[in-house]
């Protein structure tokens, strides 16, 4: 019963949403909207509560055990302070909530994002070593693209940007589309397996 009810709900909504996709009728569109947006938001709101409670529990337990105490305290301070300042002063411009958002959260996010530039360099350095034929092809393609996208490329040769565009639009795009076809087919079969009930791992696996 514990598995049959979720499986039934999954199959029902899977088939319903599939059927609704092929209809332009307002009722069908309204129903799709209802399931995909409204119901989803309700489920998300409840699980968010579960997530926040779990976050609190995990951090409080770690503080109690003395594990990563400074990080955990900062996390909890962030979690608790934002709703408090939002509750008392609102979330409009000029409020403490917006000040914290603009001066603490956004710069921190930008900092983490900025790390990506350095990681790209270190990953490229490792990936572009010409250890084999395929790695050499990768290296040459990367160099071509890099040169063509900078001002130097056009100065070296007028054909360089053309060659780089050809590499991007033909061999690279063909490989990408082949992968996308595989992903699409994989998505179709996985969805069908879940709807029909062949795949029950998401329910914790098959009943023993």
């Amino acid at each position: 019963m514990r598995r049959k009810v979720p499986q039934f709900v999954c199959a029902l909504f899977g088939i319903l949403l599939f059927a609704l996709y092929f209809s332009s009728h307002p009722l069908a569109r309204a129903l799709s909207q209802l399931v995909l947006v409204e119901y989803w938001q309700i489920i998300f709101a409840f699980t968010l509560l579960v997530g926040v409670v779990s976050f609190l529990k995990v951090n409080l337990k770690s503080i109690e055990r003395g594990e990563d105490r400074p990080y955990r305290i900062v996390s909890l301070m962030g979690l608790l302070s934002m709703p408090i300042v939002a509750f008392f002063w609102g979330i409009k411009g000029g409020t403490p909530f917006m000040w914290i958002f603009e001066n603490i959260q956004v710069p921190m996010q930008s900092t983490v994002f900025a790390l990506l530039a350095f990681f790209v360099v270190s990953a490229s350095f490792r990936g572009f070593r010409a250890r084999s034929v395929s790695a050499s092809v990768l290296l040459v393609s990367a160099l071509l693209t890099l040169l063509a996208r900078s001002d130097v490329g056009g100065l070296l040769s007028e054909h360089l940007p053309v060659v780089a565009d050809w590499v991007r639009n033909n061999p690279s795009m063909s490989a990408r589309r082949a992968i996308l076809i595989g992903i699409g087919l994989g998505s179709v079969t996985t969805s069908l397996r879940v709807i029909v009930g062949i795949e029950r791992t998401w329910l914790g696996g098959k009943q023993q």
């Binding site: 332009s24 926040v52 062949i198």
Partner: protein, 296 residues
């Protein structure tokens, strides 16, 4: 015939009213107007007919390979290095007495087939870690994924016969913000120093941040995603990468379940059909440049 915008607007307004007022008369009037409005509108969108035909063909192939007795013979699946390395990664973590970190990325939610495919691998990994008594840490950005993952891991531990080893706190919600999530997972990787890292799911810009951090601590990394852009980052930064449909075939590969393997075989049949269609369309378009029958 298309229904007028006014009727559509009134239906939307009724939805709002339906949410605000919960009286029975309101609900009745809402349903009556919806049914009546359907009299003059099309139930089937003809522009989506080719999609329906393709879907029916795909369903027929999947059902045939899965349920037809003769086609359910012994399926031989090619070796997928990334999946073959799963056992090695768990074994390594056990020998080193260090945890395993598994994360589904920031880009997806539980509705995505990629996340479901990732859950299938998680189930197998959790069952093995339960047997070896190896710590499995699962940080996620989505509370719905967290709830499902807790259920999947708990059931896997129970299936392995070690329910008492399951620690709910190891499957944790960290942040819904993309770089908040990336920073949290990076922090976990740096502090816990996991021996093995599984990056399987839908990843966006955080992919390389996580993969490079994992690489810097010398963890064995197995990655897989449906994003072709992030795949290139995983290929250079991780030890094994599941490309394209390999991520979706993982469930059958790891569980050796006949029905799942049969459905994986259907993917290959569909791939052959698509290739044949592309070749035919290419030849046709070359001969008759004005032809458009193959466009949909």
């Amino acid at each position: 015939m298309n229904i007028s915008d006014a009727t559509e607007r009134s239906i939307k307004n009724l939805f709002v009213a339906h949410r605000c007022l919960s009286c029975d008369i309101q609900e009745m009037s809402f349903l009556i107007i919806l049914i009546l409005s359907g009299v003059e509108a099309d139930w089937f969108d003809m522009t989506r007919f080719p999609v329906l035909v393709s879907a029916v063909i795909a369903f027929a192939i999947v059902f045939y390979t899965t349920y037809h007795r003769k086609s359910r013979g012994k399926h031989k699946m090619r070796q997928i290095p990334g999946l073959k390395a799963v056992e090695e990664a768990i074994g390594r973590a056990t020998e080193m007495a260090r945890p395993i970190l598994f994360t589904p990325g920031w880009g997806g939610d539980i509705q995505r087939p990629t996340t479901i495919a990732s859950m299938n691998i998680l189930s197998h990994v959790a069952q093995t870690t339960a047997v070896y008594d190896c710590q499995l840490v699962y940080p996620t950005h989505d509370p719905v994924i967290m709830s499902v993952a807790q259920e999947v891991v708990a059931e896997s531990y129970a299936r392995a016969g070690y329910s008492e080893r399951f620690r709910e706190d190891n499957i944790q919600y960290v942040s819904s913000s993309q770089f908040g999530y990336a920073a949290a997972v990076d922090g976990l990787i740096s502090r816990l120093q996991p021996a093995s890292i599984f990056l399987l799911g839908t990843f966006e810009a955080e992919s390389l941040i996580l993969a490079e951090t994992g690489n810097s601590i010398g963890a064995i990394q197995i990655a897989g995603t449906d994003s072709t852009i992030q795949l290139s980052f995983f290929i250079v930064a991780c030890d094994y990468t599941l490309i394209g449909e390999e991520l979706f075939a993982a469930s059958g590969y790891l569980s050796k379940d006949e029905s799942i393997l049969a459905s994986v075989r259907s993917q290959d049949i569909m791939k052959v059909l698509i290739a044949a269609f592309l070749v035919a369309a290419t030849i046709w378009a070359t001969i008759d440049s004005n032809s458009t029958w193959w466009v949909f």
